[in-house]
Amino acid sequence: MNGVIFEHVCKSYGENMVVKDLNLSVKKGERLVLLGPSGCGKTTTLRMIAGLETITGGTLKMGGQVVNTIAPGARNVAMVFQNYALYPHMSVWENITFGLSIQNVPKDEIKARTEKALEILNLAGLEQRKPNELSGGQKQRVALGRALVKQAPYFLLDEPLSNLDAQLRLQARTELVKIHDLFQPTLVYVTHDQVEAMTVGHRIAIMNQGMLQQLDTPDIIYNHPATTFVASFIGSPPMNLLQGHFREGALWIAGSRIDPPAEWQAIFAQHPHNWVGIRPEHCVLSDKPQLRGEVELVEHLGGNRCVHVRLNNDRQRVLCLIPGGETIPTGTIGLSFSWQHVNGFDGPNGVNIGHPDKVAYWRAG
């Protein structure tokens, strides 16, 4: 049982509480991504697992043991730091073997593990180089190598790809997933990049202002965000959140009357003030529109175009993705969407009110 369990964990610096009542469990061998905007507490959470931050309240368990007061060195975790933290005065070989050498691992064993890591990470031939003679990608791989040779059951990564360019990042995250599959440690990965989170994580924990917003698989998070924050944070372009009012058996958005299906009517009746969430790719140009608005801007996104539409009689804006080959719309246009893809959120607290069976559907899928 090598999982990590947070039970009501809090962390504060003086008056400032940066992690609030965190309940989170990472399964053994899982890749869990902590995702959120800057300052949301994700790195602090990771550092609490490493033991580099003390815990103000609650219990942290690793491998079934409470580790609140266990020193970082005794937790058997391997960590890759954001700036790699390679020792500038040591060669690649020395950097990778430093930890093993001070733990008195036999020399043959050190050599075997390091050579294997160098081979996996494609670093053979660079053993004698100093970190300042390496490119960003190579440094990142050395940092990964240093963590790999430790063969620790817990692998912690703090934005390990943030210093790489876009192309290298894509390559590195694929390698990372392969390496994880090879050794299968319990991996906790911090990032603010949603694409990275989606591609690396078995599950994603989304945090905001020190609180866990949602913990689920990438599919469910994308298709069924728990809150308006998650809905607007995940996806690029983000989900459209339209202010809706339910009255007289119909939903009113920007002065337009929309008739929802019966199951939605029952939900909206309980939440008359609400937000209607529709992903831009589920908004289509239509002759029988549910919404009407003026085209404000068209962005080219390579294969697609993102049309910014300002709704009539309102200041709300809707984003709509259309295939690149289609005629670029101008002037007033009509938009429609399928109720199958809609997420409803409660107006005052922003919590998802959509039908629960949808989650079951996504889980099954």
């Binding site: 020193a71 960590m79 700036n83 933290a85 930890g99």
Partner: protein, 275 residues
């Protein structure tokens, strides 16, 4: 542009004048060491002795136990340097990486020692050394100089520039504090350690007042003390010989400084460690 040129020109003249004023005693010392006694009094301020003579150096090397004095000075300067560097590094390490009660107050107390003039502490130090029976021994000279406020301050400042993740990575490997210090911190701050070592060494090499009080027997003298034998009531005014000894005394620190100039300047300009 014109104004800039004008301003630079003035600054340069001023700087050159300052350099000349600073260098003059050195030039005077070296030129006098190559003069006969007659030349010393006839052309006192002439920086170019004619003809230059090596009599003074010959006299110094033949009639003085110069090697003994050099050994005495080297022994004390090395001992003081090693002790000060060791205590500065250890104290700096504790101040940067450990949390203990009254940390800031203790650190400020160390800083405060900068501002205490040596004359204030000389009496108690002398009494202490005398009580321990260390008068007239190199240990007596070294004992009150085993730690240095400025060294602690400089080591602390330098260690603070080491990126924290480097040390956190070591903590995750369960590295003992001694391993962290010797295998990570010291290699990273090596230039600064070399720089303060040189400063400590030169200061100790040139020290006059404290050894003068502690060392009274001639065989125990250090070079600066040997120097005074030629310009005191005891030795008369053998200026040429005195300047030859002075030149020989200042040569090692000068060479040391020239070789390691880069480290010293970097340390005082506060260089950082790149992660």
């Amino acid at each position: 542009m014109r104004t800039d040129h004008g301003r630079n020109w003035h600054w340069h003249t001023l700087l050159w004048l300052t350099v000349l004023v600073q260098l003059w005693p050195l030039v005077f010392m070296i030129s006098t060491s190559f003069k006969t006694m007659d030349q010393v009094f006839q052309s006192t301020l002439n920086p170019l002795p004619y003809p230059p003579v090596l009599d003074n150096y010959r006299y110094v090397l033949e009639s003085l136990p110069l090697l003994k004095y050099i050994w005495n000075t080297l022994f004390i300067a090395s001992g003081v340097t090693i002790a000060k560097v060791a205590t500065s590094i250890l104290a700096g390490f504790a101040f940067v990486y450990y949390e203990f009660p009254h940390k800031e107050k203790i650190f400020n107390a160390f800083l405060f020692t900068f501002f205490i003039p040596i004359t204030v502490v000389i009496m108690p130090n002398y009494l202490l050394v005398a009580k321990l029976g260390l008068i007239n021994t190199p240990w007596g000279v070294m004992l009150p100089q085993l730690a240095d406020g400025m060294g602690i301050f400089l080591m602390r400042q330098t260690m603070r520039t080491i990126p924290r993740p480097l040390l956190e990575a070591a903590r995750l490997e369960n590295a003992a504090p001694w391993t962290v210090l010797t295998r990570i911190i010291i290699p990273l701050i090596k230039p600064s350690v070399i720089a303060i070592s040189i400063v400590f060494f030169i200061n100790s090499w040139n020290e006059y007042f404290w050894p003068l009080l502690v060392l009274s027997d001639k065989p125990a003298y250090t070079l600066p003390l040997a120097l005074q034998m030629f310009i005191s009531a005891e030795g008369g005014s053998a200026w040429g010989v005195a300047m030859a000894v002075a030149t020989l005394t200042s040569l090692p620190p000068l060479l040391l400084y020239l070789v390691c100039q880069r480290f010293i300047i970097n340390t005082f300009m506060q260089s950082g460690v790149k992660g």
